[in-house]
């Protein structure tokens, strides 16, 4: 028995589904951001799995993971800044209240 | 552009200046490490309290005439004087007297105003207890005399807090064992006997 690519892919899929669930059901804006981080990490696990099992010489998956990490950091910073400024204006972090752009 | 460069230059100059000041401070701190410690190793060494030290108050029961002057001059009316009028001698007879040293501020007014000098200041200052009510001294406790620092064989008495020997102005290079300013009581006694 050895570690297989499938294990990591399944793990990534599970994390992705959990992330989707959190993204849809959470009402706290910060928790939505956390769910997005979970999604990005699920993708990262897939990248790393492919990188290790299908491309052990040219580890391009790891390169992509680093890019995703970079983007995630930027996303977190901007997202939290947006949440903070919305909180200042509307005095809540409830996603259901952020409906200014609804018709 | 030039202005910006000038700003950067000024900032760098200020940073260097700050670094220099920190270096100076470090040298001062380092210099202090080469000086003689000023420590009094307290339970083993004790300073002799000065002549007019205001320590715990001593009370002589028999001298007291229960006049309650001490209560009146006390800022917080602290002394508790419990007396009874003796009809035969037509005098006030003292039953109990107590001072709570947990509240006393050692201002010395009671000692100053006592008409019969039954109150006096001692040089005792070690008044720590496990419970604050233990500091409420009754007339028996107030009548005890403290143990003198100079008589205690366990304690090395020190004369003064000033830490350099007489005539020495430079704090460096003075050994730890060099004696402090002033003389001990027995030395003064010896001198006066000569």
């Amino acid at each position: 028995m050895q570690l297989q690519l499938q294990y990591f892919l399944l793990l990534g899929a599970a994390l992705f589904c959990i992330g989707i669930y959190g993204l849809i059901t959470s009402r706290n804006a910060v928790r939505v951001l956390m769910s997005i981080e979970l999604l990005l990490n699920a993708v990262n696990i897939n990248f790393m799995g492919f990188s290790n099992f299908l491309d052990p010489q040219e580890i391009k998956g790891q390169v992509f993971t680093v890019f995703v990490i970079t983007v995630a950091a930027a996303e977190a910073a901007v997202g939290l800044a947006i949440v903070l400024s919305i909180y200042r204006n509307r005095d809540t972090v409830d996603m259901e209240q952020f409906n200014l752009l609804k018709w | 552009m030039l202005k910006f460069l000038k700003q950067v230059g000024d900032y760098a100059k200020e940073a260097v200046q700050a670094g220099k000041y920190i270096g100076q401070g470090l040298s001062v701190t380092f210099d202090h490490m080469r000086r003689r410690p000023i420590t009094v190793q307290y339970p083993y060494e004790k300073l002799i309290p000065s002549e007019r030290f205001r320590g715990r108050i001593h009370f002589e029961f028999d001298k007291c005439i229960s006049c309650e002057v001490c209560v009146r001059v006390c800022p917080i009316n602290l002394p508790v004087v419990d007396w009874e009028f003796n009809k035969e001698t037509k005098k006030k007879q003292l039953k109990h007297y107590s001072i709570d040293f947990g509240v006393c501020i050692f201002c010395g007014n009671c000692v100053e105003f006592c008409p019969t000098n039954c109150l006096s200041m001692t040089e005792e200052y070690e008044l720590s207890t496990y419970e604050r009510h233990e500091l409420n001294y009754d007339n028996v406790a107030l009548g005890r005399l403290p143990y003198k620092v100079t008589n205690d064989p366990m304690v090395t008495p020190l004369r003064e807090l000033v830490y350099l020997p007489k005539g020495v102005m430079d704090p460096h290079g003075v050994p730890d064992t060099a004696r402090r300013v002033g003389q001990l009581p027995e030395e003064i006694l010896e001198k006066s006997e000569k």
Binding site: - | A15, G25, L26, V28, T29, H32, M33, P37, T39, Q41
Partner: protein
């Protein structure tokens, strides 16, 4: 360059001579350096605490601990014993789980970072490729523990202290990593062994202290800030917020915070000596001395002397830096929180970036001196 003695190989070979299979011999060897390191770190903390008390006393013309053992060397042990036997208080309405987990999360990464501290060519637990980067990564876990401790104490001072600690730690991590990056750029490797190797050969002249004067200052300031030492001990500023995130802690949990802060100080000093002061190198190259004295390089005595001298040099350099930190503590007053952040973002960050740029330029111009 000879590789010096390799304790691991000698140990495993001697075990295999006794008839133990190689896998088991390796398994027996593995926990040994870790235990040694944990014990070493703890002893280092005891020594540091004692030194701190003695040096602080001397700087203030006091004597310091005196009666507990000769020169009071047992004072830190007594402190530790007291903390072990103290009651473990859980504040009312606090979060029990997070309250316990906070100090643990602060301690573990600090101890893990000792994995990469080299005391000699082969005297390091793991010479992993990521080396110094692992330390930077691990030291970024601690703020989570601090935030956890601050949040779970149910005390506004604790929360403020935890937030301050986290803010301070993440803002000083950036100039710290940038100044480390300049070193890494010169030695072409993240491994601590390679970083020291690159500095050796010319004795004191080859150390990075001459090549990185700005990086050195930035690194030291940032290390002090990361360790929450005065002048940057805002998270536990007594006059403002009682004791910061430690306010509600007592007993063993407080001891963990205390331990981690001193382990962190020793670790920073050790890594400073590795990065800038040539690690285990003697100020005069030992090979030169040996060839002057006519001792051959493969002489076992020379190797043993080199190894022990390496350990002594590393520790000496580290403790010199600890001494400097203590001296700084009694020299420089505490900064305000806005001054702290100003210093971090507006001074140290640009300086370290400029230093990085300068190092890159110098590396292109003088490849022989700056690691081509």
């Amino acid at each position: 360059m000879n590789s010096g003695i390799d304790l691991q190989e000698i140990f495993i070979e001697s075990l295999m001579d006794l008839g133990i299979p190689p896998g088991a011999a390796k398994a027996i060897w593995m926990p040994l350096p870790m235990f040694l390191m944990i014990i070493g770190a703890t002893v280092g903390v005891l020594v540091t605490v004692w030194l701190e008390r003695k040096i602080s006393a001397a700087a203030q013309q006091r004597i310091g601990p005196e009666y507990m053992g000769p020169f009071g060397v047992l004072a830190p042990v007594a402190d530790g014993m007291k903390l072990v036997f103290k009651e473990d208080i859980l504040p009312a309405q606090s979060d029990r789980l997070l309250f316990t987990l906070g100090p643990v999360l602060v301690v573990i990464p600090v101890f893990l970072s000792y994995l990469i501290v080299p005391f000699g060519q082969n005297l390091v637990i793991t010479d992993i490729g990521t080396g110094i980067f692992l330390w930077v990564a691990l030291s970024s876990i601690a703020p989570i523990g601090l935030l956890m401790a601050g949040y779970s104490s149910n005390n506004k001072y604790s929360l403020l202290g935890g937030l301050r600690a986290a803010a301070q730690s993440i803002s000083y991590e950036i100039p710290l990593s940038l100044s480390v990056l300049a070193i890494v750029m010169m030695s072409n490797s993240l491994s601590t062994i390679d970083i020291v190797q690159q500095q050796s050969g010319y004795g004191i002249l080859g150390w990075n202290i001459w090549r990185q004067p700005f990086g050195l200052i930035v690194f030291w300031i940032c290390a002090l800030a990361e360790c929450e030492r005065l002048p940057f001990d805002l998270p536990e500023a007594e006059e403002e917020i009682v004791a910061g995130y430690q306010t509600e802690y007592s007993g063993m949990k407080f001891a963990l915070f205390y331990l981690s802060s001193y382990v962190n100080l020793v670790l920073s000093a050790l890594l400073f000596s590795v990065l800038y002061l040539g690690g285990w190198n003697f100020p005069i190259p030992i090979d030169l001395l040996a060839s002057l004295l006519g001792v051959s390089e493969t002489d076992p005595w020379l190797q043993i002397i080199t190894a022990s001298l390496g350990i002594i040099m590393t520790i000496l350099k580290a403790y010199f830096l600890v001494f400097l930190a203590v001296l700084l503590r009694w020299t420089v007053p505490r900064v305000r929180i806005d001054q702290l952040l100003d210093l971090g973002w507006k001074f140290l960050l640009p300086v370290s970036l400029a230093n990085l740029l300068l190092t890159a330029a110098l590396k292109l111009v003088f490849p022989f001196a700056f690691g081509g």
